[in-house]
């Protein structure tokens, strides 16, 4: 079908008897004429012919007038066309051979002035015998059986070439048609746009209903205003931005599914009218505003005018999408980093747990550190994104993940109400200045890949900085002894406790839950490992371990009670003093706090936990004292035994000594006179 402008205003073929054909062509690039008229008359003429002529006469004489004379030529298959001289004069520049059941192009003699030639609705398979019509401007071969473009090389003046509804497989042999204004190749079997780059006068190119799978190679078409590519299989479009005059582009009913495949359209400043209907892209939710956003110059989309409102909406939506995409990209990046870090921490933890050959594992650790450093793209520097440090943030960002510092060796993350710590290095993050809001929101604290003994040491800090933490989770923290749970008693309150079996052997013990309930009974825990705590559980716990507490509190001598309590308090104060410096005010506060706790649970408070290292430290310290005590006691014993020996010796010797004493005394007093003299002498000697 040729475009409406060029369609002939005529009746149907059967009515050609009466009316003439009236073909109007309007071309603006034709300087000479505005109209080229073409009329057929009913003049008859007879031809002596051969076989074909006979056929032709038979065929045509019934329907049309014998106004066309086809004579046989010297070549057996080509009829020769001759018109009466009257016709020639009347319609010297136009010739219609529509529906003449022509299978070949006839030779047209003596019509060198012909400007318009119409071969519509025939069965012509090849373009031939028109090379002599060098003034031809309009050639219509619509609805034939032409398989190849050829025989046009002499028609240098040709402006309109209508080859729609043929069987053309390839665009070719158009080299000399430099004046071509309209090229209609719709309804063919063309698979590729080629050999049109020289057609710099071409304004309309119709390639609808072909087999095109992509559009490119459009350079050189400097005048092209309209390009019709409807009903093809086009998946991407290129080179359109090289068409400086292109205003209308029809891509309906193709296979375009995203805007990237037609992105060159965005760069075309001249485009004002575009259609995409019937493509997969038109079904997408983002279709309209994406197109409008990328092609601000458009006036019509899918044959509908583009309003300002639509344009505004489009840009808004596009911006939002951009934001979202950026956000999700950032988040996925963060997530990836987090995952890598956690893997790294896990690996380190495993190495730590299975520390057999230190040298080998050290090397391993070095090796595993470097690739992960590369992949993480960080060199131990922290990336912090505290809400209070960055400026006002998008609501989208604050609602989502609030990732904090991520390094190779540990990970700290606050996600809503959960604070997650991975790796022992993460414990240092508790020293940071957390905003009151963030810290207040945290109700769950999760520890992974950290030794429980290390966690115990920062529990006072945790208590201070995150006062609302009610749920503690431990995974891979090396909880092995029931006694370790004693350390949790120093917190203010725990509602829920989750001990993941992975990495915590203590969970294998049947009575661990009861012990926890017993020791931390003053917290009145609601849940342990997800299961509710019932009254019966509490009673059972009390039954199992109540005597232990009773013994611990009532049967220990007073000095032990004081020393144990004092120890616990001393430990807490040590950490407080380290962080805050010696402020007596605060110390007193803590004193009251712990006193209150102790008052709640006198009998439980005896059950403490000192970390293994701390315990061994203490034992080491005591060794010195023990040695001293040993020596001291030895000295005492020595003294005592000496005294004892002397005593015993005295006991043995005493009778003898006594007798001698008495004998000496009696001998002295025997002679009164000499004794009196002796006494006097003694007195005088004293002076």
């Amino acid at each position: 079908m040729i475009p409406g402008k060029y369609r002939s205003v005529s009746g149907r073929a059967t009515n050609n008897v009466n009316c003439g054909l009236h073909l109007v062509i309007q071309t603006s690039s034709l300087p000479e004429k505005n109209k080229v008229e073409f009329r057929l008359n009913k003049e008859t003429s007879s031809f002596p012919g051969r076989l074909l002529q006979h056929d032709l006469e038979r065929n045509y004489s019934s329907r049309q007038g014998d106004h066309i004379n086809l004579v046989s030529s010297s070549m057996p298959s080509f009829p020769i066309l001759q018109r009466s001289s009257e016709e020639k004069i009347l319609y010297s520049d136009r010739l219609t051979l529509e529906r003449q059941k022509l299978t070949v192009c006839p030779v047209i003699d003596g019509e060198e002035h012909l400007r318009l030639l119409n071969f519509q609705h025939n069965f012509i398979t090849r373009i031939q015998n028109i090379s002599n019509l060098q003034r031809l401007i309009f050639l219509d071969l619509y609805d034939n059986q032409i398989e190849e473009i050829s025989g046009l090389s002499t028609l240098r003046s040709l402006r309109v070439l209508l080859l729609g509804k043929n069987r053309i497989k390839k665009i070719s042999n158009l080299e000399n048609l430099k004046s071509l204004d309209v090229l209609d190749l719709h309804g063919n079997q063309i698979t590729k746009i080629e050999n049109v780059n020289h057609l710099c006068a071409l304004r309309v190119l119709n390639l609808a209903r072909n087999l095109l799978s992509h559009v490119d190679n459009l350079t050189g078409l400097d005048s092209l205003t309209e390009l019709n590519l409807r009903h093809n299989q086009i998946t991407f479009v290129r080179d359109v931005d090289n068409l400086p005059c292109l205003q209308r582009l029809f891509l309906s009913f193709n296979n375009i599914s995203n805007f990237e495949s037609v992105c060159c359209l965005a760069d075309s400043a001249s485009l004002s009218d575009i259609t995409f209907d019937g493509n997969p892209i038109a079904q997408e939710s983002w279709y309209k505003h994406t197109v409008l956003q990328n092609m601000m110059q458009l006036r019509q989309l899918d044959m509908k005018r583009v309003t300002e409102e639509e344009r505004r909406m489009a840009s808004l939506v596009a911006k939002k999408e951009e934001e979202k995409k950026r956000e999700s990209h950032k988040q996925s990046l963060l997530k990836e980093k987090k995952r890598l870090t956690i893997n790294n921490v896990a690996r380190k933890w495993d190495l730590q747990q299975h520390r057999v050959t230190s040298i080998a594992t050290n090397q391993d650790r070095k090796d595993t550190d470097s690739p992960s450093q590369d992949s993480c793209q960080m060199d131990g520097s922290t990336i912090s994104a505290f809400p209070e440090e960055t400026g006002p943030l998008d609501p989208v960002l604050t609602n989502a993940l609030q990732g904090l510092s991520v390094t190779d060796t540990h990970l700290v993350e606050v996600e809503g109400d959960t604070l997650s710590l991975y790796g022992s290095g993460a414990l240092e993050s508790l020293d940071r200045n957390w905003s009151v809001q963030t810290a207040g929101m945290v109700t769950t604290v999760s520890f992974t890949f950290i030794e429980f003994d290390e966690i115990v040491q920062v529990l006072p800090k945790l208590k201070m900085k995150f006062p609302n933490s009610l749920h503690l989770k431990f995974k891979e923290t090396n909880l092995v002894m029931l006694q370790q749970f004693n350390a949790l008693a120093q917190l203010r309150r725990i509602d829920q406790l989750t001990i993941d079996p992975q990495g915590n052997p203590v969970v294998n013990f049947t009575l661990w839950k009861y012990y926890v309930l017993f020791r931390l009974s003053h917290f009145s825990m609601q849940k342990i490992n997800g299961t509710e705590v019932t009254q019966n559980d509490m009673i059972m716990a009390e039954r199992l371990f109540g005597i232990l507490a009773h013994v611990a509190s009532s049967e220990l001598p007073q000095y032990r009670v004081i020393s144990i309590l004092g120890d616990a308090r001393k430990k807490q104060f040590r950490y407080l003093q380290e962080t805050k410096g010696k402020k007596p005010g605060i110390v007193n506060e803590e004193n009251n706090d712990s006193k209150r706790l102790v008052g709640e649970n006198t009998n439980r408070a005896m059950l403490n936990y000192t970390t293994r290292d701390f315990y061994n430290e203490k034992l080491e310290e005591i060794k010195e004292k023990k040695k001293f005590c040993q020596m001291y006691i030895e000295d005492l014993v020595k003294e005592a035994t000496e005294i004892n020996k002397k005593n015993e010796a005295l006991q043995k010797l005493w009778p003898q000594m006594f007798i001698e004493l008495v004998r000496d005394a009696v001998i002295e007093i025997r002679s009164k006179n000499s004794y009196m003299k002796l006494c006097l002498q003694q007195i005088t000697d004293q002076k």
Binding site: L482, G546, P557, T610
Partner: protein, 337 residues
């Protein structure tokens, strides 16, 4: 170091005792250990103790030694130091965790070790393992054990650990055909002896001959004067069987009433779960905790809803809570040697 005396089983004021040279006496009674420990404790807790006087401290200290509470939460080296300490520890363990046994739970070796660690943080695992081996006859070490089985085996292992080591050595010698007492053994048994290595590994399940073993042990008891089970009882154990294995022997020791009584730390096996004073106290605690909890949570519960042996529950519910003052120590425990 100090030469040990050689007078077993003495009474308070027996002439032999008084005739001991001073150092020997002190060493035998471990007086010095306690003195040293007392002074050490004093040094450690100077500031706290100076509040209420040194005399009072010493009184309390030695009182607690007599009562057997001095070993609570102390380090393992101290607990192991004297037989009296060991016995006190055994008794404390029994009293504190009798309820666990009463509840009927069977626990693994590791779990018992956990419980031990609650009382002594650095208690070594090997001892618990050895005790478990006695119960389980050196078989699957992950098996569950009942409280009484474990406790009695643990008693033997812990109290007589040095003795048991020597016995193990002797047993190994006997198994491998060497006789440590070649001089004393009559020629007839030495013939038997020489046959044994031919049998070799196949005889392991059968162990060693009881009479021979018994004689070796007798000699051992004569030589080792500290913590040795009464030789008469040992002989009794060995006289009942022809042959026995090492762990069979230990198991027999642990089950023997006489030895348990001679040790004096634990009650008889039948009475193991029986401690009315403590049960009373426990009921009081449970009652208090229940009230405490219901006042916080407004939840009513049914007492007696759990399958639990309650032998001594008779007066407990009527004994409503008095003040939270701890009850005075109900009875004193006399240490025996």
């Amino acid at each position: 170091m100090l030469k040990l005396g050689s007078y077993p089983g003495q009474r308070m004021l027996s002439p032999e005792r008084l005739a001991l040279p001073d150092y020997d006496y002190l060493a035998q009674r471990h007086v010095l250990t306690y003195m040293e420990d007392a002074v050490c404790q004093l040094l450690e807790n100077k500031e706290d103790i100076s509040q209420y006087g040194i005399a009072r401290f010493f009184t309390e200290y030695f009182n607690s030694v007599c009562q057997g509470t001095h070993i609570l939460f102390r380090e393992f080296s101290f607990i192991q130091a004297t037989p009296h300490n060991r016995a006190s520890f055994l008794r404390a363990f029994w009293r504190c965790f009798r309820t666990v046994g009463k509840n009927g739970d069977l626990l693994t070796m590791k779990e018992y070790h956990c419980l031990l660690q609650l009382l002594c943080p650095d208690f070594p695992l090997e001892l618990t393992q050895k005790a478990a081996r006695i119960v389980l006859m050196d078989d699957a070490m992950d098996c569950l054990m009942s409280f009484s089985d474990f406790l009695f085996a643990f008693q033997i292992q812990f109290y007589y650990s040095e003795f048991l080591e020597s016995v193990a050595a002797i047993y190994q010698d006997l198994l491998s055909g060497k006789n440590p007492n070649t001089v004393i053994v009559p020629t007839s048994s030495s013939g038997q002896h020489r046959q044994r290595p031919a049998v070799g590994e196949a005889s392991l399940p059968e162990g060693v001959e009881a009479s021979l073993f018994s004689q070796c042990l007798e000699n051992l008891c004569d030589r080792h004067k500290y913590s040795c089970p009464p030789p008469a009882l040992v002989k009794e154990v060995l006289s009942n069987v022809q042959r026995l294995t090492f762990y069979g022997f230990l198991m027999a020791l642990s089950k023997h009433h006489g030895i348990n009584q001679a040790l004096g730390a634990l009650p008889d096996r039948g009475d193991l779960m029986h401690d009315p004073a403590m049960d009373e106290e426990l009921e009081r605690l449970v009652m208090r905790s229940r009230l405490h909890r219901t006042s916080r949570q407004h939840r009513a519960t049914e007492p007696g809803a759990f399958g639990f042996q309650r032998r001594d529950k008779l007066e407990a519910p009527e004994n409503m809570l008095s003040a939270s003052a701890p009850t005075p120590y109900p009875y004193r425990w006399e240490p025996r040697e």
